[in-house]
Amino acid sequence: MNPFVLSILLLSLGLGTTLTFASSHWLLAWMGLEISTLAIIPLMAQHHHPRAVEATTKYFITQAAAAALILFASTTNAWITGQWDINFNLHAFPASLLTMALALKMGLAPVHFWLPEVLQGLDLTTGLILSTWQKLAPFILMCQIMPVNPSLITFLGIASTLVGGWGGLNQTQLRKILAYSSIAHLGWMVLVMQFNQQLALLALVIYIPMTFSTFMIFKTNSSTTMNTLAASWAKTPALTAITPLVLLSLGGLPPLSGFMPKWMILQELTKQGIPLTASVAALSALFSLYFYLRVSYAMTLTISPNNLNATTPWRLQTTSSTLPLAISTTISAMLLPLAPATLALLSP
């Protein structure tokens, strides 16, 4: 893509999310969401492949529908309460409507059906932007409208963790696996959001480097399926050894960073007197862990007995910088010892 056009689109992406972050008026927040949606559309469709265009169209339709719902809910709230301020308490009906609209924006169950198909149609870089950056703005809006209908929020959270785990179980396409991973992680964040928003933010802050690492690892290996990932030991042996750490961190295993948010969320849920919800969420994390382990198994723990199921490229010196991947994998794997400091920061 022309670098000027690319820079305009990326800056617009940044502008949209920043606008939503900074706004206290619902219209401005909605505008920020629309700007970021429209900015990513050309990035998604740039390859002109039918599947990319299909993904772009599905993404646009769902995001536009969600944005329209947000506008409708905020207008209804303004009509009922006379207030456009985001920080002002919402009326019950627009609050529920806003919650569902933001759930559709983020891809929470039961309105998650667009996310795997959209991610499958994109290249890995655009998929990374969709899974990380595009989640920030609706997430922050959702934090700001809390507390809303607790039953709805709990339902969204539990459904997302279950669907994210169950849906990813038999996937062999890596992008769909990451889509279901995203759904499950967002479910965890939403579950705790009604009780402790800092914990939800912590979960998001830990989730982003883990997902970034995973996408960049797959991009380095040029792999989009599990079978092609099995050849990575010949391409990048060091990365092949590190990838299970990143994947198990996504699965929430100690002593990796991904354990920290899950542990704290379970602790918070138990403190709030809903141990059953915490148990269901913990059990649903096992589904996700299974398919992360499966990817690790295919990639690192086994070497194919026959010829490699993918081509091995020439191992030339890489021209792209590996520093971002190095930093993100370090964050993904080694931040758990900071848990006490994090707890101290989060406590009031």
């Binding site: 893509m1 039918p50 399926t225 599990m226 079978n227 295919a298 194919s304």
Partner: protein, 302 residues
């Protein structure tokens, strides 16, 4: 667009018609047509059905029970297969798989998965039939090709015969697709009569104006009594729409393939035969090409 304009394409003349008037796939069990557009299609030469809608439905309790049982069996298979692994196979098998036979012809029920069509549907004179070969081990597509255009005043070219697999359906008549991402080559064992055929792969599409998108390649058969094993990499398939090769080419995505078809349209009148033993996919480790054709940009890059 009129048929005459479509017919002017020099390369794919014989292959055009069948994409417009392909025999709609009847559902398993002889159920009614799926979509409204397909229900309204009447093959030329067949008598018009003037019965009111309520008289066209055949109410049969036994048929209903059988239909429910069939759908529940499919649903059960669909729910239990993921417990084993992707596509009902263990993960190890999926990872180690190098070859897969997708279609083979071992009994009359295998022929039910295919539909045969020719330009007779638009008033032409070609004939095409499908039957099991000797010892019920192969299928034989045979007939007569006639390139004489129908005398309707607008069709200028004709002469095609085709055989296309039916859309795979899972429980409750939902579409299901083939996932061939682990493979890169189409492997056939055929015995032809020396005529050039075209193999057409149709992937799943989203927009309605993409429904005639087809990825095609040529199958040159050797005449004679000996079988030939044909391996065509998927990178060789080029994109066409309603018989016209598209300028904006891209490689075939293998994660959602719907149907495969064989078309004869070489403008040579006379009988033809194509015997197929099996159709499968395989992984050729020596083949590293992603796409065989140039993907040129029509406009300067914006």
């Amino acid at each position: 667009m009129s048929l005459s304009r479509i017919a002017r394409h020099p390369l794919l003349l014989g292959c055009v018609r069948h994409q417009l008037f392909l025999n709609p796939s009847p559902l398993p069990g002889g159920a009614c047509m799926r979509s409204l557009s397909r229900a309204q299609y009447r093959r030329p030469g067949q008598p018009k059905d003037n019965r009111p809608p309520w008289k066209r439905i055949k109410f049969d309790f036994a048929k209903g029970v059988e239909g429910v049982k069939r759908q529940l069996t499919l649903l059960k298979k669909e729910l239990l297969d993921p417990l084993v692994g992707p596509e009902g196979k263990p993960m190890l098998e999926h990872m180690l798989e190098q070859n897969r036979v997708v279609w083979e012809f071992r009994g009359p029920e295998c022929l039910e998965q295919w539909s045969v069509s020719s330009d007779r549907e638009i008033g032409g004179q070609s004939e095409a039939y499908l039957k099991l070969g000797r010892n019920n081990n192969t299928c034989l597509l045979y007939g007569t090709l006639c390139a004489a255009p129908p005398r309707d005043g607008e069709t200028r070219y004709s002469g095609y015969c085709t055989m296309r697999s039916k859309q795979r359906l899972c429980s409750f008549d939902r579409k299901t697709h083939f996932d061939w991402t682990s493979f890169n080559t189409l492997h056939l064992r055929v015995r032809g009569d020396g005529r050039p055929w075209m193999i057409n792969l149709a992937p799943e599409t989203y927009f309605s104006h993409q429904k005639d998108d087809m990825y095609s390649y040529f199958l040159y058969t050797r005449g004679g009594p000996y079988w030939q094993e044909v391996k065509i990499p998927f990178s060789k398939f080029f994109l066409g729409h309603r018989g016209r090769i598209q300028d904006d080419q891209h490689h075939l995505w293998l994660d959602k393939i719907n149907t495969i078809g064989f078309t004869l349209g070489d403008k040579v009148d006379g009988p033809f035969q194509l015997e197929i033993d099996f159709i499968g996919v395989c992984k050729d480790y020596a083949h590293t090409e992603e796409f065989a054709y140039e993907k040129y940009k029509r406009n300067p890059e914006v």
